[in-house]
Subunit: 346 residues, 2 copies
Amino acid sequence: MTETVPRPTLEAVAARAGVSRATVSRVVNGSDGVREPLAERVRRAVDELGYVPNQAARSLVTRRHDAIAVIIAEPETRVFADPFFARQLRGISKELTAHDNQLVLLLTEDRDDHARVGRYLAGGHVDGALVFSLHIDDPLPELIRKAGLPTVFGGRPDSGGGRDGVAYVDSDNRGGARDAVRHLLGLGRSRIAHITGALDQTSAVDRLDGFRDVRVDTDPGLVVEGDFTAASGERAMRELLGRRPDLDAVFAANDLTAAGALRVLREHGRRVPDDVAVVGFDDMQPIAEQTEPPLTTVRQDIEGMGRLMVRLLLRDLDDPATTDEDAGVVPSSVVLPTTLVRRASA
Amino acid sequence: MTETVPRPTLEAVAARAGVSRATVSRVVNGSDGVREPLAERVRRAVDELGYVPNQAARSLVTRRHDAIAVIIAEPETRVFADPFFARQLRGISKELTAHDNQLVLLLTEDRDDHARVGRYLAGGHVDGALVFSLHIDDPLPELIRKAGLPTVFGGRPDSGGGRDGVAYVDSDNRGGARDAVRHLLGLGRSRIAHITGALDQTSAVDRLDGFRDVRVDTDPGLVVEGDFTAASGERAMRELLGRRPDLDAVFAANDLTAAGALRVLREHGRRVPDDVAVVGFDDMQPIAEQTEPPLTTVRQDIEGMGRLMVRLLLRDLDDPATTDEDAGVVPSSVVLPTTLVRRASA
DNA sequence: GTGAAAGCGCTAACAC
DNA sequence: GTGTTAGCGCTTTCAC
């Protein structure tokens, strides 16, 4: 309200301080080369007038926006049941703030949204993009490539398209899965089942691969496909119990799935970990700490992944050398280690 | 990458179509008054060149950004344990998208962040703001008022400052609480406890008031303060059980709190709902449907609240009449009804 | 109906 | 060091 008073411009500040616009601009942008008495006068004028630079005018000439887009592509469910994204967002937000950049959030659910996102990115509103939860064959990476915007992916993108050198940040899903399964083996378990995540996402595929690395010749009946939701964990657990009532351990693709599995195990009177040991993935604290019993799981530093993505992207922006045709030679991707967190379930 | 090719400008399109910049601008912005043959030629040129308007240049003259800020003020915990915000964000995102507006997300955690947010809002990057989860005595509303930006609050703000006529969207927390407690009464329960939410938020205060509306002379020992987290639900439930082992019902301020309470009840061998009936608030499906037993709760249309906030804000923006000094006369706030959802816990 | 021209507020050469 | 000046790409009167 009361937007009636027009905001002061550089011009106004210059007039008040008795200097030129250029000098004010220099002071405001912290470029040295303005002698102290003058600079001080300018700063006072800025304060007195409550001057705030007009970002649009600045962007018009600098071609920078100090804003990056965060694109989350999730058809419905998962984003809102799983604190995963919220936590990654927090990491991103913190890091972006530290670098004086803004976060433009783009939530997409269907194909129409994709077109819109493409337009937005091409429209030059943001300096770069962070992209999450791609599914295999997602058209988004291609759209983004066309928009020609520096991008960092969250999670290894499906390399099916033959596109190399894309920057991404991922957890060591495969290694983490191996650790989980080895832990179960170390507990003396031998009939270890796996409930997978949504297999159209590389994280789920990688965890399955890790499971198989350790259990090379597992009975295929011990692997059931899930989709990272608690409901899928329940369904899968029921199926497993039907197929292999003798199983003595379960490695679930994430904590939510594990929580679902735990419920079904309890329902069927199996004691955890005595009869069946359970390990999850993520270490989503509100979930993992409050299951019954508390969940042994593979921790990944979710917030850290978010922060790292931002750092990678901003480095790219500040160092255009990397942004050349042959950006491919500097993959600039990072795979973060995971750690097993022991609680009571295994 | 390959940002080397400069994006085509209005000028380029005009040249290609053999018209003036003004004409192209008219076609691009859909203002009628350009005769068909010409308009068509312009459209073709736009397509061929892949022209996308430069938003910064446009904003510079129109003083519109087609972007609004969403400010979520939560010191840590709650945002990331509770799908509440995620769901509201989704509603906001959808509605904003439908109106071709962008969502700039501002997460704040401490005082430093407040200053930053104030600067950002004053910087004229966005046309308006949506603000969430204010705590009583939060400095944010004042900052926002100073920035002079149209704003809609999510949840009734603390009116302590004497500021009236602020626009907000809220659920009928008090009415919903009354319904919950009456339902418990209808079940024949007479020793009904309440675990509150964080009492520095109006939603928690309103729910407590609703509880008291129905249970006018409740033993104060039956009310324990929580903070909307599951952990607080556990703690509070333990305390209640110690103080009033004879209690036969609990109304929890939200589903997460109820889930915590359920766990403690089970731990203590109380059967739900036979020994103790439990009602929550929110109807956060992933939580409410998966407790044991599934939770009877008060549903609020969270996504709808988000959408409504956007509509209110955009209406404000399009109709500057409301944005006058005396905006106070049009409170333009909405309180949405709640409904009791019966499941197994009460 | 269409074009010409002014200017939104700022930065960055370039002079001095 | 500081000021002058020329745009950045767009919308919008105002003539025609």
